[in-house]
Amino acid sequence: MEIIDRRPNPHGKNTENRRRVLVRARNAVQTAVREAVSQGRIRDNAQSNTVDIPADVLHEPSFHRVFTQGVRQFVLPGNREFVPGDRLRRPPGGAGGEGGNGDGEASAEGGGEDSYRFVLSRDEFLDLFFDDLELPDLVKREIATTTSLATSRAGLSSDGSPSQLDLGRTMRHSVARRIGLKRPKPARLQEIEAEIAALEEKMPLEEADYERLQTLREEREMQSRRLIRIPWVDPVDLRYRRFTPVPKPTTQAVMFCIMDVSGSMTEKMKELGKQFFLLLHVFLERRYEKLDIVFIRHAETAEEVDEETFFTDPRTGGTVVSTALEVMLSAQKARYPVDRWNIYVAQASDGDNISSDKARVMELMTENILPIVQYFAYIEVVGSGAIIRNDSDLWRCYRELSEASPHLAIRQVRDRKEIFPVFRELFARRKTAK
């Protein structure tokens, strides 16, 4: 009999199996995740992301009978007033058909639950959510790399920290050295001892025995000296795993988020714009470690703001789009030289712009911006009444440009539901990309 305390054992024995369920139900989970996002804000439910997976995805079939007709009998406990011959009405739902109430096993599809509830960690959630999305053409400019250092295994060395000791190698060297230097085996020494003891026992010794005893004693002397002099493990045996820093090329990218906050944008439209950027922000944060995000908002003037202000601070005014583009350009010139950075722009607006600004926008776009950016995504948020409206100024302007430059993508968004599909469309992983 033994008592073992298993409590300190490693936990999470089923993490792997749980992960496999997610892999198996990937499509279902993904649908559920996207559903969850389209209903609520991604930030709000970041803490407890519960999704339901329909049971049929995880159903395990087997052969089992169901009772549909004929006669069956069962014994029940707790009789109070029944006597033989009593007739009872069938309980509702129990009358034949699929299943029948009496036999627990017969309940239609096995399982018993309609769906399985999964609590996903934030990472799992976002991974599933942003699966298949990426920034297009990220590595087109090969020069656009910086180097960071990563450590990598690089053979063995004879010194290092004890935690990096390579025991196998060390012992191999130790064995080789002991054999090479003829270190006596302790067993051999014991044999000699035993023989000496045996000879010393039978005391009146003959000549031959006496000599034998003498040589044995000398040998013992020598062997034990050797044993002490030649250590089991010597510092020269020690081998340590060596790590060396290796430069690792990393691509650098910057994303400019430009949002229109002018008076013509209704609250709902601003909300849509923010939703889009929020999605973009979480996506970029998650996928790219080396990525700068610059937030720019504009009304009749533009300014660079921090994340918090961008998403939460209300502001309003007229609309001059070119100001935002200028702010973006100046920030780019100051901090993100073209030869070192991949540059991305995402812009959200209702499409209104002062007509006098159109020429300036065209000029900035064609002359300065489009030649230097990898990808320019423009989404136009449209109020609900806007279906009958003609194309907006900015839309017309960008559409013209986009015909000549395929890396300018323009999309319209009417409703919260559309944000995610549009987002996916804009950042879907290109199959043909090298």
């Binding site: 089923n14 052969f63 009978r65 007709q69 004929g70 029944f82 011959g85 009872l88």
Partner: protein, 498 residues
Amino acid sequence: MLYTGTDWNFSILWKCYDEIERIAEEELGLETYPNRIEIITSEQMLDVYTSHGMPVSYPHWSAGKRFVTHENAYKRGLMGLAYEVVINSSPCISYLMEENSATMQALVIAHAAFGHNHFFRTNRLFREWTDPTQILDYLEFARGYVARCEERYGIRAVERILDAAHALQGQGVNRHTGAKRIDLRAEAQRARERREYEHSQYNDLWRTIPTGLGAKGDEAADGPSQLGLPEENILYFLEKHAPKLETWEREIIRIVRLTAQYFYPQPQVKVMNEGCATWVHDFIMRRLHEKGLIDDSAMLEAIHSTTNVIMQPGFEQGGGPNFNPYALGLAMMSDIVRICTTPTEEDRRWFRDIAGNGDPVGTLKYGWADYRDESFIQQFLSPKVIRDLRLFRLTDDQAQPYLLVDAIHNEEGYHEIRRSVAASYDPGMLAEEIEIVGADLQGDRILKLEHRTRPGQLLQPTDARLTLAHLKDLWGYGVEMREIDSQTGRELGGYTLQ
């Protein structure tokens, strides 16, 4: 006094164990495998549930699904966790929850480490069907083997086989033929040897030799008799005869089959097993109290806990026809003790052999060793227990608009009720009778199956089709199943998957 209050520590566990062991051995004469007691947290208990109590299990998504189901039920408060889980192995491993009070630890040691353990060791079904000394090693081998296959052939490829084999694991046991117990230690050895043999025989030159006509084999060699048809053990048949499987795939099917066989006896002795364990712990706790080793409050706690587990709700509260095995089990065990010591006139009529024989423990041990639920109930369910549980029988004839009460707990009804309760535990009635009856290996290679059943009791069609699809996947060619009335031979339905 072994302890006071509710807190336990390891020295209390040891002391309790020793005292319990003394009672179990000296007063009850229980035979047990060596015990191993493991203290676990509630989180680990969920893991134990997931792997059906086994300390190791091969990776598969279905375990993840079970885990999530249990976890959700537990977190939402729909399910409490068991105080203990015990597995049929040698050493016999009992998992004890750390949250248990000292009394509960003593109680579950008596219940699991002695009650269940004795049952595992002595019951005929377990002795014949399972190999407790080697199951742990075998599971370790199985996990390693599955993991190696995943490494070599990919998770998807292994999952394909496991999914299909799991669907068929109800058809992975030879119910009707002998040769049940398998030497599991030899299993791992056999797999290793087979692999080595293959390696030693491998010669790339064989590939270049033209196969010619020789591949066609002897016509008669693949006849039904050669294939051992009819065959009820579908997994066994696939392992031996499926034309398209790789060696490692056959081995995985074998692992599923042997694991299924290991679990096969459990549901057939549920009532007896729980009844035995509950009766043993109840006896031991009382004796500890009588000997002054535990105080009154501890005894009250033990009684309270026993009462909770043996609660049998009436039919109006959703009780039956699946009885609480603890309730029915303990009721029958206690009743046997009563019949042996203080029989009534009725008992003398019903149980001529044992009434008043003065050897209750011996009688119980005889019952635990030689019966399974069905036969045990048929033999020992007494009129008194039928009266106490107020059992009555309903006949559900779908042709009638009502349910008929046709027997109750009275003189005319006892035999009928006893027979019906026993029948509801009859594995022959519960399991589907499915057999492979044909597989024309020289012709179209369609695998033919028969399900022998009664009208109105056909297979659930969606599941049947899905399971057959798995079967077809392993077999590699089409499958056909016919559902046949076992009395008239009339065909009731069928499926064909090409």
